[in-house]
């Protein structure tokens, strides 16, 4: 009855049972035995409602506080609350606390744990010293208080350790004195013997060989390094814990306690090198230590080395892909660590700003240092996911099998940290690059492709049409064609890729809102084949390429104008210019149809001039390509009159006209000037691409100088113009 009333064999139940048994005159040993037997047959108690309420409340209070440590003080407060609000006894409440902390992955430290940890910290701080500096003493008291220990207990522990050191010192001193005495005596005795032997030899006038023995120097005392004074209580606690619990970090830890900043930096590098997917048990500790050291390290160069090592863990385009085993674990750990460092208390503002700048450089996004830790962690995780997608997209063409192997892990992580829209966008960009290159591995992308295509937003489906265009795998073509046609509710004229793409675009593009990035992507894909292939050797083919290049450059100029150029771009993309089919007599004569070329490029240059001269509409009186290019030059030259390049432009133009002597070569000359001005414009408006612009301009000069004729010059220089204006495209 007592057991049922108390809902199990609780402490209260035990006390009541013992009380009743004693009243009945039963001996203590028999009582204990009876209770043990009762415990063995005790039925499982029904759930205690109060305990469950307490559990729910505790779970609610502690969830989201992953860094909280449940020390003796906090635990005592929780126990008191459990008793006061839910009438739970200490044993049951302690059991619930243990279960909830384990469930939430929180660190729970008992008083004995705390004392042990503090003792380890005291050992480290005191080393073999017989006294302790005031600051170190205060730091230990602060750390101990954080663990929930009374100050008296902490002082007693420190005194005990120092007393032990003093005893050891006295013992050592006695031994030292004794050893010294013996050594002195031995030296004197040796001297006497040597002197005796010397005298004896001198007496015999003989020289005997002497042997020298090297004295082995005494090994230095293995004195445990004292904690650096710049460590705060949290860092000291983490370091003590790491040193006592994680032996694998011992080497790095020893270096990190050095007074030499170079050694500390080497220690940091060693520490981060230990981070690997198969050592996740050390992640949390190393995170705290790295964040603490990044924030508090007094030497800037050591902090920079630590920061650089940490940032090297982030994915970046061109760097080696992570291994297939838990591929992104380390990168996301670096994100969490960086977030922790940005909000770490005690960090110097300049250090935080430097870290934020470095992260901004890695991710290409500004980092807001004022965000609270949770939001900062989320933001950095998002940026890490984006960086990983960029890395995979860049590697998709060269390492399709490796990308296919590690993509699912990224997709899974990214889905958890990105918004649905961001996730869809990142996935689409990767899939468009990876699926056509995957070969037989495309099945990995089957479900994600279907997810993108069936999205309510038509844009991903439109982007996937680009993947369809580049795909050669028959099964993937069939899969994409079917999915896209169903999504677009369209019917293609034939199963031909071009017809499918046209039908899907026709159906979806009307309702879709294409962004500038989408348009740039379309242009890049249109231009890619033309930019990659070498110039044709046949003049007719050369002219055809020149016309296409002129058209694409004008499209790029349109996009570079922003929204005002979108309409021109969309119209131009849909209607590329072509030379009309030559008649049989023209073909047999080898007619280059130069006049038609002249007319087509004049139209495109005129359109380009209109885009660049938005303020002054281009009149219809413009006749040839050279007149339209002169207007383009005038538009690009608008700026400071004291710029030497602009001041010389009219003279350059006049000299080119004189040198050319005809409209065809004058067009070549004007292209040259347009390249100079376009490169200058890119350098000013996109300083990060100034080097690329200069290189393109230089390469154009070399290519033009070695061109076989004026047509080849037109083609080469228009290629350079297209490449220059493509520099306005946003980075993938």
């Amino acid at each position: 009855m007592i057991v049922a009333h108390e809902r199990g064999l609780t402490t209260t139940c035990r006390l009541k049972l013992v009380g009743v048994a004693r009243k009945l005159g039963i001996g203590d040993d028999q009582i204990e035995q009876a209770i043990r037997s009762l415990a063995a047959i005790e039925p499982s108690a029904p759930p205690n409602r109060q305990a469950e309420r307490f559990r729910r409340r505790l779970r609610k209070d502690l969830s989201g506080k992953s860094r909280t440590i449940i020390g003796p003080t906090i635990e005592a407060q929780i126990l008191a609350a459990a008793h006061r609000k839910y009438a739970l006894d200490e044993v049951l409440a302690r059991q619930v606390i243990a279960e909830v902390t384990a469930e939430l992955g929180l660190m729970r430290i008992s008083a004995s744990d705390a004392i042990n940890s503090l003792a380890a910290q005291i050992d480290q701080a005191a080393g073999n010293s017989t006294w302790l500096a005031r600051e170190a003493w205060d730091r230990l008291r602060s750390a101990g208080a954080k663990w929930g220990l009374e100050l008296e207990v902490i002082d007693a522990l420190i005194d005990e350790r120092l007393a032990a050191n003093r005893s050891a010192y006295l013992r050592n001193s006695s031994w030292t004195r004794a050893t010294l005495n013996i050594t002195v005596a031995a030296v004197i005795a040796t001297g006497v013997i040597i002197a005796f032997l010397f005298l004896a030899r001198a007496a015999r006038e003989e020289v005997a060989p002497t042997s020298l023995t090297e004295s082995t120097p005494n090994a230095p005392r293995n004195k445990p390094p004292a904690a650096p004074t710049w460590w705060d209580a949290d860092l000291s606690v983490e370091m003590a814990h790491a040193k006592s619990q994680l032996k694998v970090l011992a080497g790095a830890m020893n270096l990190m306690t050095s007074v030499d900043s170079n050694q500390r930096a080497a220690g940091y590098e060693q520490l981060i090198q230990q981070i690997s997917p198969d050592k996740q048990d050390i992640f949390r500790t190393v995170l705290s230590i790295v964040a603490g050291c990044l924030a508090l390290e007094p030497d800037d160069s050591a902090a920079e080395r630590l920061q650089a090592t940490l940032l090297s863990l982030f994915p970046s385009t061109g760097s080696a892909l992570p291994k297939a085993n838990l591929p992104w674990t380390v990168a996301f750990w670096a994100a969490d660590t960086s977030a922790a460092a940005l909000v770490r208390h005690g960090a110097m503002p300049a250090r935080k700003a430097a870290l934020a700048d470095a992260l901004a450089s890695v991710f290409g996004e500004t980092i807001d240092t004022s965000l609270p830790q949770g939001e900062q962690q989320k933001r950095l995780r998002q940026l890490t996911a984006f960086a990983a997608y960029r890395q995979l997209t860049a590697a998709a063409g060269k390492q399709p099998a490796e990308v296919a192997a590690i993509y699912p892990a990224l997709s899974q992580r990214a889905a958890a940290v990105l918004t649905p829209e961001e996730f869809l966008r990142a996935e689409t960009a990767l899939l468009v690059a990876a699926a056509p290159a995957a070969g037989s591995d495309w099945k990995v992308y089957e479900r994600p492709l279907a997810r993108c295509i069936t999205s309510p937003d038509p844009l991903p489906a439109l982007r996937v049409t680009d993947a369809l265009r580049r795909t050669t795998d028959k099964k993937l073509v069939a899969f994409l064609s079917e999915q896209l046609l169903v999504r677009a509710q369209a019917k293609a004229k034939s199963a031909n890729k071009a017809d499918v793409i046209a039908a899907v675009r026709q159906s979806l593009a009307g309702g879709a809102t294409l962004t500038a990035a989408d348009r740039w992507t379309s242009l890049q894909e249109e231009a890619a084949s033309l930019l990659e292939k070498p110039a044709a050797t046949d003049d007719r083919e050369l002219l055809s390429e020149y016309i296409s290049l002129v058209h694409l450059t004008t499209l790029a100029v349109a996009l570079a104008q922003g929204e005002s150029g979108f309409a021109s771009f969309d119209a131009g993309l849909a209607h590329p210019p072509h030379l009309s089919r030559p008649s049989s007599s023209e073909a047999s004569r080898g007619d280059l149809r130069l006049d038609e070329v002249q007319q087509l490029v004049a139209d495109s240059y005129r359109q380009r001039a209109g885009l660049l001269n938005s303020a002054a509409p281009v009149g219809s009186g413009i006749r040839g390509p050279e007149e339209a290019l002169e207007l383009c030059l005038a538009a690009l030259a608008g700026g400071k009159s004291n710029d030497p390049l602009l001041a010389a432009l009219p003279h350059q133009q006049k000299a080119q006209r004189f040198l050319a002597g005809d409209s065809l070569r004058y067009t070549v000359g004007l292209q040259r000037l347009l390249i100079e001005l376009s490169a200058r414009r890119v350098s000013k408006q996109r300083p990060e691409r100034a080097a690329a612009a200069r290189q393109i301009a230089e390469e154009a000069k070399i290519a033009s100088a070695s061109a076989k004729n004026a047509l080849a010059q037109l083609r080469e220089q228009e290629t350079a113009l297209l490449r220059l204006w493509m520099l306005y495209a946003p980075e993938a």
């Binding site: 280059l592 006049d595 065809l664 000069k701």
Partner: protein, 222 residues
């Protein structure tokens, strides 16, 4: 196996022949002589001369050559056009010395070697000289142009690289002005599709102005 004695003898003879050739074969001076009463000058390379006679080697069609001896008293003029000693003495840090010698050679432009050397020296001055020297060299190049397209290029360069940008330098013929109105197909048929040359001081001529030191009969970089 030891080489035979006559084998060593052959080697020694070859070495001696090479040394003799190296000593005897020296760059000959280009000369132009104008015999009294002759309408055409004789151009060739100086073989030898003394107080009274001069021997010239003339290059003949088909790769052959002929040595001709002229008494000095029968000559109206004897011009040694390009002097290797003068070329060797030119100092890249003093571009004016290049201009001075180029102007001397330009006066003997009937000799192709003198004209080419003058063009080379003017090109060096244009690339290495100050504004005044450059302008002077470019004007000198215009006078030495070997064909109309080259003259057009030198004029364009003289106009662009002069601080005054004198439009009088850009003298266009009436035909040039009309060519601007030709369609591209007409341009291709009448003027051809030759490329437009770059107007760059480094590429004005076929000579690289960076190789501006004359050593051992060759132009090298300083």
């Amino acid at each position: 196996m030891r080489p035979k004695l006559n084998h060593w003898f052959n080697i020694e003879v070859c070495i001696a022949a090479c040394l003799a050739a190296a000593i005897l074969i020296r760059p000959a001076h280009a000369v132009v002589v104008l015999p009294k009463g002759a309408k055409q000058p004789v151009m060739g390379y100086l073989v030898r001369q003394d107080d009274r006679t001069i021997v010239i080697r003339q290059e003949l069609p088909g790769g052959k050559s002929r040595e001709s001896s002229f008494p000095k008293k029968d000559l109206d003029e004897l011009i040694i056009t390009v002097s290797p000693e003068r070329l060797s003495s030119l100092d890249p840090n003093k571009p004016q010395t290049y201009r001075e010698y180029a102007e001397e050679l330009a006066e003997k432009q009937r000799d192709p070697e003198a004209r080419d050397t003058a063009i080379r020296l003017f090109a060096v001055v244009a690339a290495r000289g100050d504004d005044q020297l450059r302008h002077s060299a470019l004007l000198g190049l215009i006078a030495l142009a070997r064909h109309a397209d080259e003259e057009r290029l030198f004029r364009a360069a003289a106009y662009i690289f002069s601080s005054e940008h004198d439009p009088a330098i850009l003298v266009a013929s009436a035909g040039d002005a009309a060519a601007m109105d030709l369609s591209w197909s007409e341009v291709a048929s009448k003027r051809g599709l030759t490329p437009l040359p770059p107007v760059s001081l480094d590429r004005l001529t076929e000579f690289d102005p960076a190789t501006c030191v004359y050593r051992g009969g060759k132009w090298v970089r300083p």
